[in-house]
Amino acid sequence: MKKLLMGALGLTLALALTACSGGNGGANGGESGGSAGEVKKGGTYIIGVSGEATTLNPDATADDYNYAIVQNLYSRLYKLGNDFEAKPDLAESYELSEDGMKYTFHLRSGVVWTDGEPCTSADVKYTYDEIIKQNYAFASVFENVDTIETPDDLTVVFNMKNPDPSFMGNVSWYGTFILPKHIYEGTDWLTNPANENPVGTGPFKLDQWNKGTDIQIVPNENYFGDQPLLDRVIYTVKPDATTCYQSWLNGEIDESWYYTESEFADLEKDTEKYQWIEQLWPSPWYIVFNTEKGQCADPAVRRAIATGLNRQEVSEKGTSGIKPASEYFIPLLYKDAHNEEYKLPDYDPAKAMKILEDAGYKKDDKGYYLHITFTSQAGLPEVEQVIKANMEKIGIDLKIDSLDYTIWSEKVEPGDYEMAWMGGFQGPDVVATGKRLVTNGMINYSRYSNPEVDKLYEEANREPDPAKQNELIKKVQEYLAEDVPNLNMVDYMDKMPMYSYIKGHPSFSEKDGGSMEKAGFSEMTYVWLDK
């Protein structure tokens, strides 16, 4: 029913980001992405979003509702697009020293803020220093940064404590938009009035913010890059999924954050009117086991559950078959790092029960080997029912606890659970999967600790050659197959329709008439209306 229910579920920021970006999935291009004809300038583009941005400060807090907007108002050093490639933004180029300990960014010259002040390396240093010092939302990904130097106005040097292959991905991700030092210095980032009236260097600038209703942006004539083709982009708030979808169907809005999956088959018949975005994200939905205490602390139980869960059924009944059943211990998207020998176990209830029997578990008078509580997240009734039925078949009585995100996180983060449901962006590169697996890793909610796995990730983190990195991650999967701390269920596939008159959208590659190769995730610079 609700295509993008994960935003409401709050499974993770990444999932929400997919929602935020609305139509900005896209790696697989569209069926009728459209041959770009004569580019038409002008027009208003309206996006129906599920919630209102609370601030237009892009770095201070995590705000699922402002990501799509701030990408158009500010610039980063580099920016990630829907092809997951980092593209030059404020920086024209960068160099990495041979030992991987020094990143030197060369900024574009002549960049000015929307208030006319010049944007220099001082702004970059100020922004990063503050993010790290004040522990703003994305500070943690920069713990490898030692010092930042600015030898001149157009050069920024990051000296690292350790080599960090994820660094460029993190720089180009969110929460790293460069803020104007002359506006923010000496003020509280959370309350600065510029949060409502931003001064940026992005392709657009704020025109109106009608609280509770809409945010409107118009081209920034000071922008250093190509001028936007649209006259105006409006983000209008439609909190209800069905209303938003109806509003889109009726043509009141051009793009929606919500679609009704069950109606896709009907829409697909009209190949003239719609083009389709399909994109795989490195954000599987998975089951996380508490490896430290409770019944799932026994690896045999985890292996039995993994063998007794029908991922294909979860995909079909829980996601209308759109999100594919997972096959590997790491996201489907990182195919070069897949270990074909150590994949997720095939569905086999008889084998699952045998694992339990072999481990010494006996059925009680009710016919169950185990009674386990499953800490789930509200909004996934179909998924929960499939999992419960699967477990019933192998003699595990599953009690389902469906919780709001905040309550869920209060239970799962400190390890007060047995088996839980979660999601999350595991990128921007394959090494970042380690955050969920290494001892004391930031998102290691399974509290898994295996010195061998730690060592492999440590090596991978220091390894500049992607091919060698992949080999190390393949090795990791051997241990994961034995220990099963996390169990991927479905990989995150976004599929959504878009009106064919929309051209130059960042969700489509340039060969399909889009702008994926040059624009950020939700950057509207190259979007134009062929109508």
């Binding site: 807090t61 522990n135 943690s140 209703t213 708030v237 439609k238 909190p239 109806q246 009726n250 905040t406």
Partner: protein
């Protein structure tokens, strides 16, 4: 009468104070920590969470937080939203007008139509009109606002293409001046219709039963036996007495109109306070929620006082009892 009013005001003040305390404690005891959402779901950096808890004083004991909050309130300061860091009063102020507009227009229509239908049905008790209306009223009384709103959108917007699905105005055209007023009116039709259809049954049934009850009172029987024309009895004696309980009902619904329209605001993307309240619950934005609850409890208290006073004027028995 003066004493009567003072008593009511005092009770009202106590109601407000207790509801502020109750809401404050309840909110903080409920599971869910706002700083976890602010720190981001992707990289919930413990240091960020601690820094935010320190900033908002959430690491202090609840009663200390409460005393600080009351002190703040006494200075007329409602605090700042955790989520947007803007003043609570400003945030509520931005949303207040939209809710009042929708609620007041809806209220006027539903009270008028509800009472008229109720009186008519009571007068023609047992008639076809009465039976049908009764059935319809039970149907809509048990209909969820969400469902009805969506059905109305599907019918009037998606099928008939007569009216816009949602929003307060046409963002594409962004009309100004008088055209803006017309545009808002145009966008109000569907949410108002939903609200009115859902609430008319309430007024209808209360009026109907109240009128019927009064018609069976002994004094009406006595009047009838004097040979007074039925129309005169109805207008002069039945209506006046029957409408008394409706005053209470109207007063109470007016006080609850913010919560009453919350779901309608969500379905129709109406930028009102009800939606703000539900959002703030999801994000655990305590200061905004406290602000809204304070406003709600004040409006409930004020409406109770107003109702009591109006009641006392309308019915001298109440004044004298006091």
């Amino acid at each position: 009468m003066k004493q009567y009013i003072w008593k009511r005001v005092l009770t009202g003040a106590l109601v407000v104070l207790f509801s502020v305390l109750f809401n404050f404690v309840l909110m903080r005891l409920a599971p869910g920590d706002p700083t976890r959402l602010l720190a981001g779901k992707e990289n919930p950096n413990p240091a960020t969470i601690l820094a935010l808890q320190e900033r908002y004083g959430l690491n202090k004991p609840i009663m200390v937080q409460f005393v600080l909050y009351i002190k703040q309130l006494l200075h007329g300061d409602f605090g700042f939203s955790y989520v947007s860091n803007r003043p609570v009063l400003t945030i509520i102020g931005e949303r207040f007008g939209a809710t009042i507009l929708l609620a007041v227009v809806g209220l006027i229509i539903e009270i008028t139509v509800g009472i008229l239908l109720g009186v008519h049905a009571a007068q023609h008790q047992g008639s076809k009109f009465d039976t049908i209306l009764n059935g319809i009223s039970y149907f809509f009384d048990s209909t969820p606002a969400f469902w009805l709103g969506l059905m109305i959108i599907l019918l009037f917007s998606s099928t008939l293409h007569l009216l816009p699905t949602s929003g307060m105005y046409n963002v594409r055209e962004n009309y100004q001046g008088f055209r803006r007023v017309l545009d808002v009116g145009y966008h109000m039709i569907l949410p108002t219709l939903t609200m009115v259809v859902l609430n008319i049954p309430y007024y209808f049934r209360i009026t109907r039963s109240s009128v019927m009850e009064t018609m069976n009172e002994d004094y009406i029987m006595t009047l009838r036996s004097t040979g007074m024309p039925e129309k005169q009895i109805f207008r002069k004696y039945v209506l006046r007495n029957a409408l008394l309980p409706i005053i209470t009902v109207v007063g109470i619904t007016m006080a609850y109109m913010i919560t009453g329209v919350a779901f309608i605001e969500i379905v129709f993307a109406w930028p009102g306070m009800g939606r703000l309240m539900l959002n703030s619950i999801t994000t655990r934005d305590y200061p905004v929620l406290s602000g809204i609850y304070l406003l709600l409890s004040i409006s409930v208290a004020v409406m109770m006082i107003v109702v009591d006073v109006v009641y006392a004027y309308a019915d001298p028995r109440i004044r004298y009892e006091d």
